[in-house]
């Protein structure tokens, strides 16, 4: 319709020259908002409200007494000053960052390897392997961690038994969590084990979309397999890699269950990641304001990662458009 339609409407409306078209225009401008409103309400309720509450809580002195009386005390940014001034918290952030980098790196590396393998396997083996991956993915997190906990158990664990019988040394009564480096290695194994299925299957799906003729052309030009991978496959899969890297970063930065369940809900300070620190401050020591502040710092760091991802994606799509 556009402008011409409006004009016609104005003329034919006759007596009600003013009201008719303006109602029409309002309806047309409002319609998109009405349509999007349910989604906005749901998102605001499910994501916005808790986030707003978290931000509000992080500015409050909020302990057990305040919780029972539903009345906090506004302290501005004092909670942030406290945790950022605390060398222990800065150490926790550092540990979390290192942990995330290692876990994202290792899981992406192995997942890419498995995806490439899946592409080259015969059909029955491929089905077997992907079923295995899906089963891992389908295992509920807490029971899975409990199984790993049993395997690495100090007294009765199968890992210690196996290593000893394989002649790797005396692992009877070896404690995997006495040394945090070994402990974090076990945690990394569990996190990576849980992350691989999704990553590998996504990458495999991506690989099947790489045009055959491009690979063949590169091979005819004498490219070696790793050159094909680096020069053809990776550039084509770049958007996928970006998404997976960002998602992995978000997931691995939030790791909580693995540490909490594996260490019987009483992890020592050596095993504090940001999420564990925040939980401990909030629900164990009842300093809800400080715990919220730690969670806000965590969200802020993740926001930076997400921003980088969105910017890269926008840049990619505009490149493609040009």
């Amino acid at each position: 319709m556009g402008v011409a339609g409006d004009a016609r409407a104005r003329v034919t409306a006759g007596t009600n020259i003013e009201a008719g078209p303006s109602r029409h225009v309002i309806a047309r401008t409002l319609l998109p908002y009405v349509l999007i409103a349910p989604a906005v309400v749901v998102i605001a309720g499910v994501l916005g409200y808790p986030l707003a509450m978290l931000l509000w809580l992080s500015t409050q002195h909020y302990g057990l007494r305040e919780l029972f009386q539903h009345q906090g005390e506004f302290v501005g940014l004092a909670n942030f000053a406290t945790i950022l001034g605390d060398s222990e918290f800065r150490h926790v952030v550092l540990i979390s960052v290192v942990f995330t980098v290692v876990n994202v790196g290792v899981s992406m590396l192995i997942a890419t390897g498995i995806a490439l393998l899946l592409e080259r396997l015969s059909r029955p083996v491929r089905i077997l392997l992907s079923s295995g991956l899906v089963l891992v993915w389908a295992t509920p997190v807490i029971p899975a961690i409990n199984l790993w906990q049993w395997m690495f158990d100090y007294e009765f664990g199968v890992v210690n038994w196996l290593l000893t019988h394989l002649g790797a040394g005396n692992y009877i009564h070896h404690n995997w969590f006495e040394n945090p480096l070994q402990g974090f290695t076990v945690i990394t194994v569990i996190v990576v084990w849980g992350a691989i299925p999704f990553l590998a299957l996504m990458l495999y799906a991506g690989l099947t979309q790489v045009p055959r003729e491009l690979v063949e052309a590169a091979e005819i030009d004498g490219a070696r397999p790793w050159q094909v991978f680096a020069m053809v496959t990776v550039p084509i899969l770049r958007p996928l890699f970006l998404i997976l890297f960002s998602l992995s970063t978000i997931w691995d930065f939030q790791v909580f269950n693995q540490v909490w369940v594996l260490l019987n809900q009483r992890p020592s300070k050596d095993y504090f990641l940001i999420s564990v620190y925040s939980f401990q401050e909030s629900f164990r020591v009842s300093k809800f304001g400080l715990g919220a502040a730690a969670a806000v710092v965590m969200v802020a760091i993740l926001l930076v990662v997400t921003f980088v991802y969105v910017r890269q994606t926008v840049r990619l799509t505009t490149e493609e458009a040009v």
């Binding site: 057990l64 919780l67 007294e155 404690n175 019987n264 809900q265 164990r284 009842s286």
Partner: protein
């Protein structure tokens, strides 16, 4: 505001006030025709089912229209659940609280002040002093003592006989006895003469107290951590020596699995509560055939012939400040805390009752644990003590010492600073 409206509001206000008072007086006198549900939270393993059923039956006889809903909670996550429950508008009416937790909830206005009703509870004149102390915050009573527990050493009489040793009478003797056992069972790579998981703080405390040390001391309103005093360090170093020579338990583990481990048959001694005998000989979780092979003796002191002070654990029964059924709740608590059911707690449950007048009922192994309770100590009675426990300060300190990650002076002074900070915050 016009006069008629004013009059109307005044009348409404009075009417509301009258109904409010009416509701109140209903709640304070129990007539037998109340309706509703009384929610009770008891802890896992505290009262045998037969005792709970008995209390409910007696309660039901008096209040046929009130339903009692007894819910069993787990120790591991109970504080989080309690925090959430007390923050809501309908908390459970009666809660069992570990005696180290009461001060935290009393100080934060979660519990009903029952000071004026103390006399209405049976045996309140002879309640165990340390449990009454745990119920008292700033001179007011916030709960009714429920039962007590203290730790002693449970041992395998057959293993002691095989190694030709007797229950030790001093800490030095304990080491000697343990080493003989280690030699006797040296072919078993899993054998522990004294199984001592690294985070088992309540078994370590007696050693600290025995040498004259303490966790923290109070002067005025200020607390000062004292786990780094030379006496405390001496106790911990003695314990460290015992653990390194006699225990193959996980140095970073906790005591939650120790009864199951004991039932596997590679352990001669554990530091345990009286009720753990039941877990060890449980047909499902443990080994019933051990029933005749178990003995107990108090943790010995470094002074020969004496016993070390032990931590007096236990539970109290409190009523939520926001409970809608204050009088009914008090009545239910009165039943479980009274003579009839406390006697059953001793004879069936094997625990130490809440009153000195019934202690003599215990016999056999429970009597040894009851005797150990006579020389008992308690943790700092501060509302912040629960946070020291939640933050694992003492557990982490023990792990650092046992795994040689820190020296005893370093580990204890770090822990002591944390305790000072938390208790004074």
């Amino acid at each position: 505001m016009n006069p008629r409206k004013l009059l109307f509001s005044v009348v409404t206000a009075f009417a509301l006030l009258a109904t409010a008072c009416g509701g109140n007086s209903n709640a304070t006198t129990t007539t037998g025709n109340e309706t509703g549900t009384l929610t009770v939270w008891l802890m896992n393993g505290s009262a045998p089912q037969s005792v709970v059923d008995g209390v409910n039956a007696d309660f039901k006889a008096k209040h046929p229209n009130v339903t009692v809903d007894v819910q069993i909670q787990q120790w591991s996550d109970v504080t989080t659940k309690l925090d959430t429950a007390f923050a809501g508008s309908t908390p459970p009416d009666v809660v069992e609280l570990g005696n180290t937790l009461v001060a935290k909830y009393a100080a934060n206005t979660a519990l009903a002040d029952i000071t004026s009703k103390k006399g209405s509870f049976e045996n309140s004149g002879t309640w165990l002093q340390s449990l009454t102390d745990s119920c008292t915050y700033q001179g007011k009573l916030y709960c009714v003592p429920y039962y007590a527990g203290s730790r002693a050493i449970i041992y395998r009489t057959d293993m002691f006989a095989a190694a030709g040793v007797q229950p030790p009478t001093s800490i030095d003797d304990l080491l000697t006895v343990g080493q003989k056992l280690m030699t006797k069972y040296s072919s078993d790579p899993n054998f522990s003469a004294l199984y001592f998981p690294g985070k088992y703080w309540y078994a370590a405390a007696p050693f600290v107290w025995d040498f004259g040390g303490d966790i923290a001391t109070q002067s005025g309103s200020k607390w000062q951590g004292s786990i780094n005093s030379s006496q405390s360090q001496q106790g911990l170093s003695t314990l460290n020596n015992l653990v390194s020579k006699l225990s193959r338990a996980d140095k970073t583990g906790d005591e939650l699995k120790q009864d199951q481990a004991f039932a596997q048959g590679h352990i001669a001694m554990i530091v345990a509560n009286g009720w753990e005998v039941g877990v060890i000989t449980d047909p499902k979780a443990g080994d019933p055939s051990l029933k005749d092979k178990l003995g107990a003796f108090p943790i010995p002191s470094h002074t020969p012939g004496q016993t070390a002070p032990v931590f007096l654990g236990g539970s109290d029964l409190a009523i939520a400040a926001h409970s809608q059924h204050q009088a009914l709740a008090r009545e239910w608590v009165g039943l479980l805390g009274g003579t009839k059911f406390q006697s059953q707690m001793v004879t069936v449950g094997g625990v130490i009752p809440n009153t000195t007048s019934l202690v003599s009922l215990s016999s056999g192994l429970p009597a040894i644990f009851a005797a150990a309770a006579k020389n008992s100590r308690f943790t700092p009675n501060s509302p912040n003590w629960a946070n020291v426990e939640s933050a694992n300060v003492l557990q982490d300190m023990l792990v650092s010492i046992f795994t040689s990650k820190s020296t005893i002076p370093d580990a204890t002074s770090a822990a002591s600073n944390k305790i000072t900070n938390i208790l004074n915050s």
